[in-house]
Symmetry: D2
Subunit: 297 residues, 4 copies
């Protein structure tokens, strides 16, 4: 049976919070209405940019339900359901599936990082994939986990019928090529940072789950469309224009910066949840300048 | 009001699991009966060696209750109640307090490590300490969190009336001295690895939360007793004899190794929870040899 | 005055040694005769793959002279002349210039890495460039130096009239794009690892100094030729076929592996200089297999 | 034949430079006259704090000769003669021996760090020790080399008749204990940072090569004297008083800060050699304050 195919720019959706720290579901709905108007490949709810690590299980399931309800028909809904333990990961994934998620993006467990060798990761993802009701994608995000899954482990896991892809957020293109050289044809290799979007496309990658898509959905989509039409020059120009926004947000200001940029661009960024801190006044000025320079504002 | 004083060797207690992955509460009770017979300074439930990150909230509270019930009277019960979000940390800490914990050992949040600067950590611990019903200790364990709290942050936090100490598991003695030079007199600076136990004592540290205490409670206690009697030679000899056991378990075999050693030494180690893997046959042989060489077996 | 333009695949040439550890100049001459037959963009003598750090000043100058003498006319000769101190770097660079080198590839100083901030690196490269008789290129190779020059420093340095380019060996494509966005039009941004060769071309990079070029000069050149003809598919295919060779040699076996592969492919790899160790028998088998799989052998 | 025994506080002597960057031999002589008046265990010339990596071979030998000539009789002279290649290390060590050095402190080679495994380091130090005319000490300084020699390699090397000790500058006390547990009785384990001086003494270490000894020779010596008299409290007090000076200089300001402090305290610090930068005015104020707080100024 062929694996589901994932294609296009996909936002790892921010989770807006109210000033008191509660989830602002209404603002999330509003954001989705806006994103629905762009030509996106689907949605990721409960990713790193969603502050999912700060959400309770109840909030997570609520966010999945709302996302499923609001999404434009036909768009795939990925839910970040990785927990540290295998049993909790299975449990949460099945709850997200019941809530309507189409597939699960599952973080490499990382607390006992020194023990998360190939064997442990292969066991973990296999056991999860064997016991959940929706397809599984591996989520490799070294920046947050300090784990970097090996090409050997990916080679094995890509052959599991219920493991259908991987999001690699390293931004490391040679590593992406190494992954590409060991996976099966129908395994969805997804790039996880806008910094690597254009070069990834030139190497045959078909989908990107990019923080930048939250605030520049059309730009992210156009890079791919132009590339696929054969207009490499235009694709690269948009990429190079948007690149500094991504670098600033991802590396310098984090989720709080992304949310402030969202506020400026007509979305509902909202508050971050503590212990994250909001951006300072000085940083706000810098974010504005970056957005203006990239002609987003 | 003076802060509570913590003194002695304290085991960060392992959590025994059954083969099916359920918590084996009975085995925990049995272990506590054995530890009660040694001259220990208290107990830590829900630490890193407890696989706390793999426990559900219900299991955590059950473990706290059982620990409180089984502990020899007069021994302090510390509970590891750190979560990633401030609000969940407060909630869990107060539940642990209601379950009988005397104080909370709270991990530095770490998922968004790049944003966990001094300001964020000071805010986090202050807000938690302001809103919980038991005293708070900071838990700095770079090995797992990739966060290393600064002496500046510790200086500020040590002055909060409800932040009463810190466990530093870095094993970095110069760093311990740096912390010591900035804290208040009644702030409990606790060393978090047996590798640093003897040198920490020579620098005035009074308590150690040491994985090794799970399997060598008497040895860990004796290092301190000998030191305090002025018998530095004996203290150092015990320390140097037990040191290789700690290095092997902490650095090489992790929690699974510690549990296997516990099984060998009459405790109930039990299974680890997935995705952790049990020790292999070859490693079992090595652990036996290490325990024999240290005259524990 | 426009800066010299560097283009094409350039081998960071291995330095063959005799069994007694002396430089085997004759073998170097033989290698150059072979490389002269391929369509290369020039030569780098005294790079990291040349074990330059193990050569005396006399040996270095001798290698430059021999390279100049043997090189096919019209090919640019780059010499790696970075030393830790500014004064020795200037001195060696001018000696290499006198020996015929066309430009100098100069390593970021790195011993006191904690002090090599933007200001120090800008001062260093500016002072060197002001005092040498040939153009200067920056050599950024984090793998060996644990220094990673910032885009800010590169922005400044690219405006110096005698600093004409940079070799970035990080393989980090997003970083390459960041550098590209701050440099002047005529500044030669050169990619330093074959792992990044094809994606770098798609981003407008014109030259690569690639260890792989030592043993697969035609393949490295063809990737670029095919790309420039618009045959992206062929370019990518050659790149993906050769990629595993590069990964194996660079990451796994190092210079000793590269030299053994050179021996197998008709070049004179020769011995490494101590403390480097030759490849073991088992590794030889693996290298052979990798070369066969890439259809080089 | 018993190995030479090394004991006491030893300064890794700074190398004063003139404003034009030339070595200021006269100032070095003046410094030595001052250090001769303190109760030191010997001298290290050409260490990391000597900017040895910036000296030519001629300057190095001249520094050794001058040190031998100026040193108080009976004090051991250690010379830092490590080079990247085995053959140059042997050559320089024998020249330093001819110039009067008593023993050589030899850096782990580090440029090809990924290849400097146990086997390579054991081969390197053994081959050097077999071919030089003075005893050899291993110099492990991860901060600069990014290499950390293993206890296994040290165990083997400590059994070589001409390898008489090791300076470990990691400041990592548990690692020091691990080294101590594998070496032979007569192998000189020397601590390489003042941050670890007191705890190292409590573990049986007899010598320290400490940057701080350049500017606080008496304090460094007194810590050991007090400890050995059994006055642990006094030893610890001096250590804790001087500790912040060491931290500031080593971690924050580097060699330039050490030299400025030397100038303030009556020694001849002199200029650093480029690419090192002198301390800024603001840093000068901070250094003064630190010295005043430690009652050195």
């Amino acid at each position: 049976m062929a694996k589901v195919q994932i294609k296009g720019a996909i936002p790892p959706m921010i989770t807006p919070f109210k000033e008191n720290g509660d989830v602002d579901y209404e603002s999330h709905s509003r954001n989705m209405e806006l994103w629905n108007e762009s030509d996106l490949g689907g949605y990721l709810v409960l990713g790193s940019n969603s502050e999912a690590i700060y959400l309770t299980e109840e909030e997570k399931i609520e966010m999945v339900k709302l996302t499923v309800q609001k999404a434009k028909k036909g768009r795939i809904i990925l839910a970040g359901t990785g927990m540290e333990s295998t049993r909790e990961t299975i449990s949460l994934t099945n709850k997200a599936a019941d809530a309507g998620a189409d597939a699960a993006l599952i973080l490499t467990p990382f607390y006992y990082g020194g023990n998360m060798n190939d064997e442990a990761l292969i066991n973990f993802f296999s056991e999860v994939a064997d016991n959940v009701t929706i397809p599984v994608l591996i989520y490799n995000v070294t920046k947050f986990t300090h784990i970097n899954i090996s090409a050997n482990a990916v080679a094995t896991l890509s052959r599991h019928p219920n493991i259908v892809g991987m999001k690699d957020s390293s931004g490391n293109i040679p590593q992406l090529v190494a992954f590409k050289s060991v996976i099966t044809e129908d395994f969805n290799l997804i790039v996880g940072t806008a910094s690597a979007w254009y070069p990834a496309l030139t190497l045959g990658v078909k989908a990107g789950i990019l923080a930048l898509t939250n605030i520049a959905p059309d730009g992210c989509a156009q890079v791919q469309k132009a590339y696929e039409k054969g207009d490499h020059k235009e694709a690269r120009e948009i990429y190079e224009r948007l690149f500094p926004v991504n670098t600033a947000i991802t590396a310098t200001y984090g989720v709080a910066g992304l949310k402030y940029a969202a506020d400026l661009l007509g979305y509902k960024g909202g508050f971050v949840r503590s212990p994250l801190l909001p951006v300072r006044e000085k940083e706000k000025v810098q974010i504005k300048e970056i957005l203006q320079k990239a002609r987003l504002l």
